[in-house]
C-alpha cells in the first residue's frame, strides 16, 4: 500500500525533468499539457469574470448609468462566450482529466500525446482569435448567436467570434477522442471496466458528447458565417430560410454542452465523497451507467430551450417529458452520493466542503431545471432571471464547485506541495456564501418578472439586484483566494507525500509529483475502485495520516 514519503525533492519528476520554454511548449506529456491548460483557462476565467463584474456593477442601480445599452449587450455576450467555450468546456476535462485519465487507468500517457498537444494549440489559437475579437469591438448577439440577428442585423464582430469558437471546438473534440481511445485501449493489466474510478466513467460519457455534439456546433457556425457573409438565406426568413433550424442545430450541441460541464464535475465529486467518507461508493454500477444515461438523454432534450419559439405543441410535449427523464439519472447520482455519506467516517477537508457545496447547489439547479422543463412554468419564466439563476446553479454552483474541489483534492499530486488547509476551508465557505447570495436573489427576480439581457430595470427590483452584486463581490474574493494560496504553496507549501489523503486510485500510488511516465513500474490492478475498507483496515494500529 502507498504513502512512501518522498520529501527529498531531488527525485526526478515531470516538473523538474526539463526546464525552459521549449520543454513546455513542445511537450507531449499529458501532465504538462494539463498545466498549460490550467494556466490558459484561468486566464480566460478572469476575463469572463471581469465582464461579469461589469454586468453586476451596471445592475447595481435601476438606471442604465455605468455603460451604454450596446456595451451592455457585448458584456453579457462575451461573458457567456468566454466562460462557456474558453473556461467551462475545457475546465475539468482538459486540466484534471488530462492529468488524471492516464494515471487513473494506469497508462504512461494518453493514446495520442501529440494530438493532445495539438488540442492545446487549437485552444490557444481560438483563444487569441477571441481576444482579438474582444479587443477590436466585440460581439453583441448573446452567446447563442441567434439568427437572423446574428446573420443580418448585428453590426459587431460576429464572424470573428464564430471562427474563434469554431477553432476552439476542435480542441474539445480532440480531447474527447483521446480520452475514449485511452480508456478503451490503454488500461493497465487487471483494470477492468468495473474497476475503473467513476471519474473515468464520467469522462467517458463527457467524451461521447464532445465527439458527437461539438461537430454539430462547428457546422452550424459555418452556416451562420456563410449566411452572414453571403446572405444565402439558409436562416433568413426573408429569403425563405428558417431561423428555427438554427436554434435546433445550435441547441443540439449547446444543451449537451451543459453535460460536458457537469459530468466531469460529478466524476470529481464521486472521488472526493468516497475518499472523505472512507467508504466504497454506494451503487457503483448505477453511478457509472447514470453518466452514460445522462450523455444519451442529454442529446434528446435540446428543444426545451425553444418552447416559446414556435415549435409545435406536440414536439414541446415530447421534449418536456424527455427533459424530465434526464432528472432520473441525475437523481440516481445524488441519492447514491448521499447513501455513500450515510454512516461514513466523514472528514471535513476543503475538497469535501466543495463536494458538499456541489451537492446542495447542483440539487437546487437540477430541481429548478424541472420547473423549466414544465411547459406552463417555462412560458412564465422564459428569458427571465429565473433561467439565469437556474443555469448558474448548474454551471457555476455545480461545475465550478467540482472543479475547485478537484483542484484542491489533486493539487498535492499536481504540484507536489500541500496547500494551506485553513485558508482553503475558508475559501470554500466564502465561495458557497458568495454564490448563494449572488444567484438566489435572481430566482426571485426572475419569478417576479425581471427579464434577462436588460441593462436597466424598474426600481422595485433594486434590493434583490444589490444583494446579487454584493454576493458577486464575495464570490470574486472566494475565487481569488485559491489562486493566491495555490501559487503561494508552489514555493512555500510543505512537500506532499504520495498519498496525502490515503485515497484509493492508481494516481495516489506514484510519487507526488509523478515521474514523467507516471509509474516507476507498470501497475497491475487486483482490487476494485474505492477499496477504503482494505485501505483503512491495517491503518488502525499505525500513526494517523497527516492531513
Amino acid at each position: 500500500m502507498p504513502t512512501a514519503d518522498n520529501s527529498q525533492g531531488e527525485r526526478p519528476n515531470y516538473l523538474n525533468k526539463e526546464y525552459g520554454v521549449g520543454s513546455w511548449l513542445l511537450t507531449t506529456d499529458h501532465k504538462r499539457i494539463a498545466l498549460l491548460y490550467l494556466i490558459s483557462i484561468t486566464f480566460f476565467f478572469f476575463i469572463g469574470g471581469f465582464f461579469a463584474l461589469l454586468i453586476r456593477l451596471e445592475l447595481l442601480t435601476p438606471a442604465g448609468d455605468l455603460v451604454q445599452a450596446d456595451t451592455y449587450n457585448k458584456l453579457f455576450t462575451q461573458h457567456g462566450q468566454v466562460m462557456v467555450f474558453f473556461f467551462l468546456i475545457p475546465s475539468i476535462p482538459a486540466v484534471l482529466g488530462n492529468f488524471l485519465v492516464p494515471m487513473m487507468v494506469g497508462a504512461k500517457d494518453l493514446a495520442f500525446p501529440r494530438v493532445n498537444l495539438l488540442s492545446w494549440y487549437l485552444y490557444i489559437i481560438g483563444g487569441i482569435m477571441m481576444l482579438h475579437c474582444l479587443l477590436t469591438g466585440g460581439v453583441d448577439t448573446g452567446w447563442t448567436f441567434y439568427t437572423p440577428f446574428s446573420t443580418a442585423f448585428s453590426n459587431t464582430k460576429v464572424i470573428e467570434a464564430g471562427l474563434a469558437i469554431f477553432v476552439a471546438g476542435f480542441s474539445s473534440i480532440l480531447t474527447g477522442l483521446n480520452f475514449i481511445v485511452t480508456i478503451h485501449r490503454m488500461r493497465a493489466p487487471g483494470m477492468t471496466w468495473s474497476r475503473l474510478p467513476l471519474f473515468i466513467w464520467a469522462h467517458y460519457a463527457t467524451s461521447i458528447i464532445q465527439i458527437l455534439g461539438t461537430p454539430v456546433i462547428a457546422i452550424t457556425l459555418v452556416l451562420v458565417l456563410a449566411e452572414r457573409a453571403l446572405h444565402l438565406g439558409i436562416f433568413d426568413p426573408k429569403l425563405g430560410g428558417d431561423p428555427l433550424l438554427f436554434q435546433h442545430l445550435f441547441w443540439f450541441y449547446s444543451h449537451p454542452a451543459v453535460y460536458i460541464m457537469i459530468l466531469p464535475s460529478m466524476g470529481v465529486v464521486t472521488e472526493i465523497i468516497a475518499c472523505f467518507s472512507r467508504k466504497r461508493i454506494f451503487g457503483y454500477s448505477f453511478v457509472a451507467l447514470s453518466s452514460i444515461a445522462i450523455a444519451v438523454f442529454g442529446f434528446l432534450v435540446w428543444a426545451h430551450h425553444m418552447f416559446v419559439a414556435g415549435i409545435s405543441v406536440y414536439a414541446a410535449l415530447v421534449f418536456s417529458i424527455l427533459s424530465y427523464a434526464v432528472a432520473v439519472p441525475s437523481a440516481v447520482k445524488v441519492f447514491n452520493w448521499t447513501a455513500t455519506l450515510y454512516k461514513g467516517s466523514i472528514h471535513y477537508d476543503a475538497p469535501m466542503l466543495y463536494a458538499f457545496g456541489f451537492l446542495g447547489l447542483f440539487t437546487m439547479g437540477g430541481l429548478t431545471g424541472l420547473f423549466l422543463a414544465a411547459l406552463g412554468v417555462n412560458v412564465h419564466v422564459h428569458d427571465t432571471y429565473f433561467v439565469i439563476a437556474h443555469f448558474h446553479y448548474i454551471m457555476v454552483g455545480g461545475a465550478v464547485m467540482g472543479y475547485l474541489g478537484g483542484m484542491h483534492f489533486w493539487w498535492p499530486k499536481i504540484s507536489g506541495k500541500l496547500y494551506p488547509e485553513g485558508w482553503a476551508r475558508l475559501a470554500a465557505l466564502i465561495v458557497f456564501i458568495g454564490f448563494n447570495l449572488t444567484f438566489f436573489p435572481q430566482f426571485i427576480l426572475g419569478y417576479v418578472g425581471m427579464p434577462r439581457r436588460y441593462y436597466q430595470y424598474p426600481p422595485e427590483y433594486q434590493v434583490l439586484n444589490v444583494l446579487s452584486t454584493a454576493g458577486a463581490t464575495i464570490l470574486g474574493v472566494g475565487y481569488l483566494l485559491p489562486m493566491i494560496y495555490f501559487l503561494w504553496s508552489m514555493r512555500y507549501g510543505k512537500p506532499a507525500p504520495a498519498n496525502p489523503w490515503n485515497a484509493a486510485g492508481l494516481e495516489w500510488q506514484t510519487p507526488s509529483p509523478p515521474p514523467t511516465f507516471n509509474f516507476d513500474e507498470e501497475p497491475v490492478v487486483t482490487w476494485e475502485a474505492y477499496n477504503y475498507d482494505e485501505l483503512d483496515a491495517p491503518r488502525k494500529e499505525e500513526v494517523p495520516v497527516a492531513r
Partner: protein
C-alpha cells in the same frame, strides 16, 4: 514520426525484445498501438458524420419544404459529370484496398503504384469538380449578389417556375456540402502524399502498415460521403 526512435531508446529496457522504431514509448505492444490508432480514426470519423450530419439535416428540411424548387435547381447541375466522379471515387477506394493488400504481402512496387493511382483518381475528381463549379459560375448559379435563377421550370409541372430564393438555398447547400467534401479530398491527398513518401522509404511491412490502414479508412469515409451527396444533390427528380 521524428521522436519515435528516441522515445523507444529511452525505454529500451522496457521493450528490450522490440526493435520496431515505429512503436511509441507509451504503448506496451504493437498490437495495442495499432488498435488505438484504428479506434482513434473510427471515432474521428464519427465526429465527421455529425459534422456533415448538420448539413444533411438542413438539406432534408429545405428539400421537404421546397421540393419543387430543389428539383428544378438539381436538374441544372450536370449528372453526367457527377456520375463520372462517383465512378472515379469508387475506383480510388478499390486502389486503396489493393495498396493495403500489397503492403500486407510486401509487394512494395504494387503498393506504390496503387497509391499513385489513388491520388490520380483524387485529382481527377477535383478537376471534374472544378469544371462543375465553373459551369455554375458561368450560369450565375453561385449564391450571392449575382445569383440568378429566373424562369426555370419545375420538373413535371409545366408552366410553373421555381422560386429563385428557394433555389438559392439549394445552391448554397450544394456549394457548402460539395465544398467541404472537396476540402476533405484535398486533406486526403495530403495524407496520401505522406503515405506515398513512407511507402517509398520502405517503412511499411506486413507487420506494420497502420498509417496506411487509417489513411485508407479516412479515404473510404470521404468516398462514402460522396456516395450520399451524389443522389441527394444530383438526382432529386431526374426520373421523368
Amino acid at each position: 514520426m521524428p521522436d519515435s526512435s528516441t522515445a523507444a531508446a529511452v525505454h529500451g529496457e522496457a521493450h528490450a525484445e522490440t526493435h520496431n522504431p515505429a512503436l511509441l514509448h507509451h504503448f506496451a505492444t504493437e498490437e495495442q498501438q495499432r488498435d488505438a490508432s484504428n479506434l482513434g480514426m473510427w471515432i474521428f470519423l464519427a465526429t465527421e458524420v455529425m459534422f456533415f450530419g448538420g448539413l444533411f439535416c438542413a438539406y432534408l428540411i429545405y428539400r421537404l419544404k421546397y421540393f419543387g424548387d430543389f428539383a428544378a435547381a438539381s436538374t441544372s447541375i450536370d449528372a453526367a459529370l457527377g456520375g463520372t466522379n462517383t465512378a472515379v471515387l469508387i475506383c480510388s477506394s478499390l486502389t486503396v484496398v489493393i495498396a493495403i493488400w500489397a503492403a500486407q504481402r510486401s509487394r512494395r512496387a504494387l503498393m506504390i503504384a496503387m497509391l499513385v493511382l489513388t491520388m490520380l483518381f483524387g485529382l481527377t475528381f477535383l478537376g471534374i469538380k472544378g469544371v462543375e463549379y465553373r459551369d455554375k459560375f458561368v450560369e450565375h448559379h453561385v449564391p450571392g449578389s449575382s445569383f440568378s435563377f429566373e424562369h426555370e421550370e419545375i420538373p413535371g409541372h409545366p408552366g410553373e417556375y421555381a422560386n429563385p430564393q428557394h433555389a438559392q438555398i439549394f445552391f448554397a447547400l450544394y456549394f457548402i456540402m460539395t465544398g467541404l467534401h472537396a476540402l476533405h479530398m484535398v486533406v486526403g491527398l495530403g495524407i496520401f502524399t505522406w503515405l506515398l513518401w513512407m511507402a517509398w522509404k520502405g517503412r511499411f511491412t506486413p507487420d506494420y502498415h497502420t498509417p496506411l490502414e487509417i489513411g485508407g479508412l479516412y479515404w473510404h469515409f470521404v468516398d462514402i460521403i460522396w456516395i450520399y451527396l451524389f443522389p441527394l444533390l444530383y438526382l432529386i427528380d431526374r426520373h421523368r
